[in-house]
Symmetry: C2
Subunit: 424 residues, 2 copies
């Protein structure tokens, strides 16, 4: 077992019950404290840990890695140093924060330089995302969409069970949790007998996804096998793949989604390592057809991460509209990465891959308004009595995720929270 995952570990820093960030998590992010430049951080309970300050104060002196990489406004240079280094730093944090360890516990002066209250800092987008790829890996989601828009009898297209369908998305418009978005404007064709029209999207939607950030590059012409894939995955964040369904519907044939998606996508600020999620590995759903050898996936490669989506109307109370689980995904991250590179496509540290909408079998587990309201035919009640088929201006969409099982400490992803402002 990974030492830092030991459920018996406790910290001398207070961790509220059911916190997403116990000593067994220790995710990575980029924070900006008052009067200081953005730099690398971790979190425990409600305390943000300044990793650059830890380095400056000598707590990493005996660790063999480039400490200057912690003093940057993005994690790319740090994570490019590969898994050995991410692990080393997480293990060191676990050691320093352990209640048995006096090194930092009994040094209030240094504590003052290292810890910040989460409420006093600003979290930034943790990586410069070179390329972003979105998959379509939930069988339930693909089936729902195929049923609504194509043919219920042949909802899945012929390729779907043979390869993890994916497409390239826009990297520039990925924003961190807390950044509001404007309702996008665009061209739609609500009436096929009339010319298209221009205006604010009327069918604005979220998509509940997991994002995973690559930590190590691979050269053009090389591939990554499913067995090797874990070495390349730095960690996971929550991801809201905003979608304007009316724009998307009109534009997407034959080359895929474009303006219906690229106005914004939202990422949670903390990247939780695969290591921290190790206890929650589980079997993926059974393959329904035999896959080609490069997509075979031994062992437990799915992750049991409970997910939920809330909608909070302007001035109102948040209502949970979806409860899903990352383990439902038919295709795993490892299969996606193997597929992505099987043709020699190169990857870089900081690239973002996303799972696609995570829907389960139960209608309450559908990961988008499109599916939850079944194309706008089933309105969803908010706590204030109002109804939603799609999202309204003023709504805040909140996605949360955590892994929990008996004998282990809860490991949370935090949240990605985004308010929708009216079209400009």
């Amino acid at each position: 077992m990974i030492k830092a995952n030991d459920p018996k570990l406790e910290s001398w820093i207070e961790v509220p019950k059911n916190s997403d960030f116990p000593i067994q998590n220790l995710p990575f992010g980029i924070f900006k404290g008052e009067n200081q430049k953005p730099c690398a951080a971790s979190i425990i309970g409600k305390k943000v840990i300044d990793l650059n300050a830890l380095a400056q104060l000598g707590y990493f002196d005996d660790l063999a890695f480039n400490k200057n990489t912690l003093d940057k406004p993005v994690l790319n240079p740090f994570i490019r140093q590969k898994r050995k280094v991410w692990r080393m730093v997480r293990e060191r944090l676990s050691y320093l924060l352990n209640k048995e360890n006096a090194t930092l516990r009994d040094n209030p002066e240094n504590q003052g330089k290292i810890f910040h209250d989460l409420k006093d800092v600003r979290m930034k987008l943790p990586v410069r995302i070179g390329d972003y790829t979105d998959f379509y890996a939930s069988k339930e989601h693909a089936t729902n969409v195929g049923t609504m828009f194509r043919d219920p009898k042949n909802a899945l297209l012929p390729n779907w069970l043979h390869l993890p369908v994916g497409y390239h998305g826009r990297a520039s418009s990925i924003i961190v949790s807390g950044t509001p978005i404007h309702r996008p404007k665009g061209q739609t064709r609500p009436d096929a007998d009339k010319p298209p029209v221009f205006g604010p999207s009327k069918l604005l939607d979220f998509e509940l996804e997991m994002g995973y950030i690559l930590g190590q590059g691979k050269r053009l012409g090389k591939s990554i096998s499913t067995e090797e894939a874990d070495e390349y995955i730095f960690g996971l964040s929550l991801f809201n793949d905003w979608s304007a369904r009316d724009i998307q519907k009109w534009e997407y044939v034959p080359l895929g989604p474009f303006l219906g998606k690229n106005f914004a996508s939202s990422l949670s600020p903390w990247i939780v390592s695969l290591d921290a999620l190790e206890p929650f590995r589980t079997q993926q759903p059974k393959a329904e057809v035999e896959v080609l050898p490069y997509l075979r996936n031994k062992g437990k490669n799915a992750l049991d991460i409970k997910l939920e989506v809330q909608i909070k109307p302007e001035g109102g109370k948040a209502k949970t509209v979806c409860r899903s689980n990352f383990k439902h995904m038919y295709w795993t991250m490892q299969q996606q990465l193997a597929h992505h590179t099987v043709n020699g496509c190169n990857i870089n540290a900081g690239d973002l891959l996303a799972s696609g909408t995570i829907s389960g079998k139960n209608p309450s587990s559908y990961g988008s308004m499109l599916e939850l309201s079944w194309k706008g035919t089933i309105p969803i009640k908010m706590n204030d009595g109002s109804e939603r088929k799609f999202l309204q201006d003023g709504d805040t969409v909140i996605m949360k995720g955590y892994a929990q099982k008996s004998g282990h400490v809860r490991i949370g992803l935090g949240e990605v929270r985004t308010k929708i402002l009216p079209a400009t």
Copy 2:
């Protein structure tokens, strides 16, 4: 008229007849000379101009811009300074290279520090490409593909005449001219009654495109009108959008091309400014339906650039297989950029947009083997007697482009040249 475009200008540097790079061109690129770091460059005739050396020697001292940006391995920091600066530097080069001007002409010592023979240097990818978007803007190409794969009577999909269809591509695998590629491997389904198979692509193809590089960013939530678009376009390069047709065919529904494209795309090293191409502006093809106001495009926004594609078999002589023209494009760069940002999608300096395959009406002007060989039904004869339906290992694909008309000096794009190596 822009002063540097004056056809009467001549340089004291020898420019071979029909050179792509007369004094009226002066494109930008990144070169690496022997024993020096990569930095910004221009070219005249066969002489590469070290722009950083010019700055160091004081030739830009009176120009108000950040000269340190010329000392970088990519042009992004330079072009981010906006059009005024690109123009200023091009005008200064024109002034210094003018045969009437003695400043540099009579200073052989400085010349030795500034000029390099093209054959002695290595050209690098000129920009770090943040995001890459590919369009599908030739009506002839879209019609050909629709005819072959869908329905000859309804070859164009309903959205095609109403908006410039585009999709996101892979930025990481864009390589500079001269870099060989390996034939990609991947999943295909040659026989719909049998399971898919894995192996090297059998239908490797080029796509003749123009790439254009953005020089100025725009914030998330803002849009660029067709009228403003020129201010954001730093310049043009030749672009080969490699395509593995068999991989693409099996994977592309419903979310668009992915592994059939992202194994590599090739860009020519010199970025020719819109200013240099100003004399070759022409009217785009007449719109067949009225477009929405945000896509209206006043004036001459197409460019008359002659294009050709050659295939050079291993050890053999190059054969021209396509002669086309950028002016055939139904949708202009300005319309594409306006469409891309109409939903608030942000752009950054160094982003690459590409036109999509440039096919004309005449079959010899089709910009891909898919169309030239009409899906492999019409073999194309090489000079050595061999035939091509698609590309073979050992083939080198060479794309060239230049603008020429009476009363003006020829302005060339140079070439993008790529050899195909066997699958690894």
